[in-house]
Assembly symmetry: C2
Homo-oligomer: 332 residues x 2
């Protein structure tokens, strides 16, 4: 069996607080280009890797490559669902080649006319997260008001566009003027603001949504959630998708305004997108025509090469990315 | 028109922190025993008053009588829905006679064969709150596990019994050995514990519900909620009914474990029982046969006379009551 070089991004030690580039190292090993005797195994050549906030919670095993979503091409397979040459997306590792045994989340790419990198975002886990969260958990009605935090991120930018397509009024927040401009000009948000320039977040939200919020799509947590709760309308829904402000803290910020759940009959619901993948084909049927006909825009931020992966991942927690952060291993 | 004495419990000044008996005073005025020219008005002779935690938030107008739920008898009415002699329950004030103009929550008592005081609790707002919260928001399934905090209170004792009747496994917590014994012996909880004797609440809940909680009925808030969140099962529901631990605090305790909403797909939902009163007759049809046939027990704690009202209300926030706290003005 042919053996080739396999470059990997390894977690050096347990993380503490905000992750840093020096928590990772690039190591070069080798890999046999076959699944060998392993049953239900797939050897994947990784092409694009996805940087997602939730990865913070997976980084617990020093010495292992960074786990995460990615797009790849099957090199060898003993799994009945995959053949060499298949394009796939799903859970993989930050390395050139991954041997995935008993894959749990690995889907064949049926619509290969779309850019492959889209399967790390728009068409993959983040886009599907936006879809399940907004439509299934948010239960939106035409004319309702929607507020999205971390709105220029991989999930937020799509939630806002789904909400507009559904006839909602959408406001987003992000952490720079550049991102705020993109929200309004590229993604069609009705309004947007830079949360870093608002000393009183609760008042800022009130200014942009004076009649209150029907659906809050939560990507941030902590102080942002506290500022949102008094601004919710009666019967409002909070879709809890992520809490990026909290992932690097050892003790989480306390949320003080939960009493509003009672006062205004709010439903607040978290979800794991992994419980919903059976609906992914339905999602693609909905979203691909919107993309092809120009009704959905999408912004990617590419880091070139595995070597630049750690900086891209770290940058996510400082808002350095503009749009979906992708690491390109190979464009083949 | 006959004029008679009208004793009242008046809020003396704005509350700050925990309420005290000295925040209230008894004043004796007079009242005309008729509605006069007021249209859609009902003059009610108050018989039983209800002490409920949510009243803390209504106590904002010094010089006014304490607002709250009660049971009374109509003395005079210009409202088409009520006649002199009708027994009623709903929003009234802490005084012997109340002139209620344009009543919003005032219901005629159709089942007068039940003890009238039950309409401050079991058959009134708290019982109906338990019903709506548990069945409509909790969406219970047979065999599920239920945890109730402040379980011996007016709402909690009924949630536990509804859960048992529905085939669930129910654990409750309360603040004394006496209350814990009552939960197990009188209300049929499968198990119960004294939260004051548990230095590690999260571990205590884990001990009593090692496989996790499907439905948490939240009456307490703050640290209790933080201890519950890591103990929820995937797909669990938190019915947010009250947060008695928070009502007397000027700054609320921060809840740190909301990340579990995502990790275990939890739905957390608050509600206002006032939005559901159209279902009250259906509730009575369900609960009255259970009471008559001895399948539901109910415990009341009576304070005799308006003069003892402030102490009874204050006592609620220190857990002094055992069962539903009622103030008796008149048993007539």
């Amino acid at each position: 069996m042919v053996e080739v070089q396999n470059k990997r991004v390894i977690l050096k030690h347990q993380l503490s607080g905000f992750m840093k580039e020096t928590d990772f190292e690039i190591m070069v090993g080798s890999v046999k280009l076959g699944v060998g005797d392993a049953s239900n195994a797939v050897l994947v050549k990784n092409l694009y890797l996805s940087c997602d906030p939730y990865q913070r919670s997976l980084l617990t095993t020093p010495g292992s490559p960074v786990p995460g979503f990615g797009v790849g091409k099957v090199v060898s397979s003993s799994h009945p669902g995959f053949e060499p040459g298949d394009l796939v997306w799903g859970m993989t590792s930050w390395e050139e080649y991954s041997l995935i045994i008993e894959p749990k989340i690995l889907l064949k790419i049926e619509h290969a006319d779309m850019p492959l990198s889209f399967y790390t975002g728009l068409l993959g886990m983040p886009g599907f997260t936006a879809y399940i969260g907004f439509f299934k958990k948010g239960a939106p009605k035409k004319g309702e008001t929607v507020y999205v935090s971390a709105a220029s991120g991989a999930v937020g930018q799509l939630v806002g566009q789904f909400a507009k397509l559904h006839g909602c009024y959408v406001v987003g927040s992000a952490g720079s003027k550049e991102k705020v401009d993109i929200l309004k000009e590229k993604f069609g948000f009705d309004d947007a603001f830079n949360y870093k320039e608002e000393p009183d977040l609760e008042a800022a939200i009130k200014r942009y949504l004076p009649d209150g919020i029907d659906i809050y799509f939560e990507n941030v947590g902590g102080k942002m959630l506290d500022a949102v709760l008094p601004n919710m309308k009666t019967g409002g829904r909070i879709v809890v998708c992520g809490m990026i402000s909290q992932y690097n803290l050892s003790g989480h910020e306390g949320v003080q305004n939960l009493i509003y759940l009672i006062r205004t009959s709010i439903r607040m619901e978290g979800f794991r997108v992994m419980d919903h993948y059976h609906l992914h084909p339905k999602f693609l049927d909905m979203v691909i025509p919107h993309i092809k006909e120009g009704r959905i825009n999408y912004l990617e931020d590419f880091a070139e090469g595995l070597e630049n992966g750690p900086a891209a991942l770290v940058g996510l927690f400082h808002g350095r990315n503009v749009g979906k952060q992708v690491v390109v291993i190979s464009r083949e």
